[in-house]
Symmetry: C2
């Protein structure tokens, strides 16, 4: 693939080569995927030599792993921390809407700053359907711990909620949030007026209200 030269945005001379490579690779991998990005494009965009990739990281794959190592745990911790914050602030019995809003904000926050963590968000989406990470580090380091945290928080916020259903509710919430992330690119290019405008904050508010209502129905209403 010729791959248009795109932007000549050499990531600048900001910082040492190793960091420039990490930042540049994060952007290119998120835009064109792992196989869709060549080491030469990468080095060119980062303004360094081709050999630097192997010099600093050993291989293209190791560089890819390093990107995740840099962001995965902090991002997971941020999500769990946002849950914990609501829990402590409410003395262990948070209002359902507060819990959901807080988690949704932590989840979607990286999308707000256009440049920094938004790329990694996209990259995570790719990794979910096209894994290049060894073993199941993504599930173990990110998905399962986050799921656990939101699950027990939900049980605290809604004592009437059945435990076996709490995990399903967590799926629903995360599914909605992820979908909000995924559909954004579709709106950005296809401005056909055929489709409503994309307002992230409106979507988030909806997800919170929608989920809260559904959970209440589970907790209060029928148990079967």
């Amino acid at each position: 693939m010729p791959v248009s030269q795109e932007k000549n945005t050499v990531e600048g001379d900001a910082g040492p080569v190793r960091e420039r490579l990490l930042d540049t690779a994060e952007r290119l991998f998120s835009e064109h995927g792992f196989e869709g990005t060549s080491v030469r494009e990468l080095a060119s965009a980062a303004g360094c030599n081709i050999a630097s990739v192997n010099y600093y990281f050993g291989s293209k794959e190791k560089l890819y792993e390093e990107i995740f190592r840099r962001h995965l745990i902090p991002m997971r911790n941020a999500r769990i921390a946002s849950i914990d914050r609501v829990m402590t602030e409410s003395s262990g019995r948070p209002k359902l809407e507060d819990l959901l809003q807080s988690f949704a904000n932590a989840f979607i926050e990286p999308l707000a700053d256009e440049t920094k963590a938004a790329r990694f968000m996209k990259l995570m989406g790719r990794e979910m359907v096209d894994s290049h990470l060894p073993s199941d580090v993504f599930a173990k380091e990110m998905a399962i711990p986050t799921l656990k945290a939101i699950q027990i928080a939900l049980l605290k916020a809604c004592p009437g909620l059945d435990e076996s259903r709490a995990v399903l509710v967590a799926y629903s919430i995360i599914g909605q949030l992820l979908h909000a992330v995924h559909i954004r690119p579709m709106f950005e290019q296809a401005c056909d007026a055929e489709v409503p405008k994309y307002e992230l904050s409106r979507i988030i508010d909806h997800i919170v209200a929608f989920s809260a209502a559904a959970i209440r129905a589970y907790a209060e209403g029928r148990n079967e």
Copy 2:
């Protein structure tokens, strides 16, 4: 009297080369992605010559497009038809659960048969985060029409539902369904007992009940 037509016996020996290539490419693209699948692997798995790809389809990309052309419209129509069926059977005023259950089944059905359309489902997931289709054919041919259909069906099923909110509700439903699709591979390999078992039918039932409850709260309850 005709000559015996013995041929190679690699894999999909059934049918002419063109169809074998389409089936094989569907599987390989869904498993390893577009860039992750070489024309040689493809031809080898289909039991034909390398040149056949370009002979029948012109290029690797055209073959990719043909796969979608084969499935996209029928799958979309199946989804919309499942909605229409509920609408007519209920004389235009369906029970909310029936509408949701019917749509969810049509949405998830391809996952049931392990081999046939399940691969294409996976492929659609890839296409959403890593587009190789020209322009926005996926949005125009699949996403938007399906969204429109479920949206107006929701309004019919719930007259109290605000129109501007109907599209958000549709996002929530599709987001949950897609997530149910995406998380399955995570469960299949990581059987750590750390995570609950994956039961698709249980998840579907939950999504239906969860969404119905939330929609009712929207339609009946608060308007603000």
